[in-house]
């Protein structure tokens, strides 16, 4: 499809959505890893035995980038079949939803993960309770992933 006016071009909006999904999710993941990583390292220096389990914070943060990539790739695969501007904006909304949610979840995972690593370094038996806030922060991104997938699959 050749677009004359970008504001009404479905390919433009869908491409922007795909890009935002990957970009913002990667920033969110970077924040999560960047904030929790040093705390995990600090906890590991004093208590090497807790380091492996506190790595869950960086794994969950990394998952945000994967969610963003999944939405981005599905959006790219959907672009050739787009015929209406509504379809393009649906994919844009999906990308924005996934990206913005990953940013917030990334900050949450970073802060909660850092506190979890510190608390586990002090009292290792607190880990199973401290990890709950981390999982709840990750859940925010999963809500956005479900919404974004529904938006992408419904785009025509």
């Amino acid at each position: 499809m050749v677009c004359v006016d970008l504001s009404t071009c479905p390919t433009f909006w869908a491409s922007l959505g795909a890009g935002l999904s990957v970009l913002l999710s990667a920033i969110g993941a970077g924040l999560g890893i960047g904030i929790s990583g040093p705390a995990i390292a600090g906890a590991g220096v004093e208590r090497p035995e807790v380091m492996l389990k506190t790595f869950i914070a960086t794994i969950l943060a990394e998952a945000l980038a994967i969610y963003g990539l999944v939405v981005g790739l599905l959006s790219i695969f959907a672009i050739p079949a787009l015929t209406t501007i509504e379809g393009g904006t649906r994919i844009f909304a999906a990308g924005l939803t996934m990206g913005a949610a990953s940013l917030g979840a990334g900050f949450g995972i970073g802060a909660a993960g850092s506190a979890m690593a510190s608390a586990t370094a002090e009292k290792p038996d607190i880990f199973s309770r401290a990890v709950i806030s981390l999982i709840l922060a990750e859940a925010l991104a999963i809500y956005a992933l479900v919404t974004a997938l529904l938006l992408v699959f419904g785009a025509k």
């Binding site: 390292a41 906890a43 004093e46 850092s114 002090e122």
Partner: protein
Amino acid sequence: MVSDTLSHLLRDNYLIARLRGKRSNLLGRQQLIALSESKSQTEIIGLLAEGPYGAELSKLGSESSTIETERAVRLGYADSVMSLIRASGGDTHEFLIQYRRRSDAYAIAGLVVFKAQGKTWEDYLATRQPLALMNEQELHRLYSLDDLSIIVREAGDRHLVERMKGFSMTDIEGEKASLVRDVINGWGEERFYEYINEKLSGPDRENCLPIAGSAIDIANLTLIVRSKIIGASGIKDHLIPSHWKLNQRAIDQLLAATDVAQALDVAASHEYYSRILSGARQKYEESKSLSFIEVALRRYQLDLGRRVFLGFPYSVGIVLAFLILKENEARNLAAVLAGVAAGLPTDELRSLLALQD
């Protein structure tokens, strides 16, 4: 405030995680009580071999003196603080440097008292504060000076010079030596308090101020009570001008007390410090020493530190709280080592320890 919190979250979480881990390795109440029941220093050193003091204590020979063992404990404590300083950055690093500056006052106080008592440089060196910023060369130069006012001028600032007026090397002995030591130590505590009061804000200031503030208040209280013991007049000129909860009115009441017992009664009825100084008069009459005031302050600061650890995790208060806990552990350990070596009865030895409830 938000920017301070964000900077602690982004920059200091490595340090905060490390010191939370270190906190779990501090000697607990039961461990210290068990150590105080030891029969000899060798037994204590054996029990501590695996812990953070192990590296320094393992260097000691079987016939080590109490001074050498205490120095090993101090070095173990200093190593721990230095590793935190190396791991810190930005404002937190500056905070830790200010904390180290506080040790300079302790180094100068020790120097003045040792010098006045005619002890050698080697004697002083064995007991000096390893955390002080002043290096050995600088301290050696100060030790070679004989005039107290010159030592104070070179090592301190105009506030310390003003506060030390009226003292001379020839009359520093007994309780007066303790008074001079308290004046200099108080000056160090005041510098740290002023730094927290003026340079920190938000949760950083809120968490640190009670710890530093109580230190200067109790330093003033100790100075006044000690001046009553030796019958010194004009103590007002040697007091710390800053105050936290012990305001001018309370200080005037303490100064107006006719003797030690009355001053301690005034302190015990203070609206804020009654919580840590209740029964002060009786404790003094039983021990004829003011060391219970220092122990009471340390116990109070331990409680403040515990509360800081339970609160919001991203503030420099966590760093200070850990330092207070670590310093207290080193002091308790030094007291146990000295007490066991001197053959103190267990009950008497325990009264010198600041243990958390």
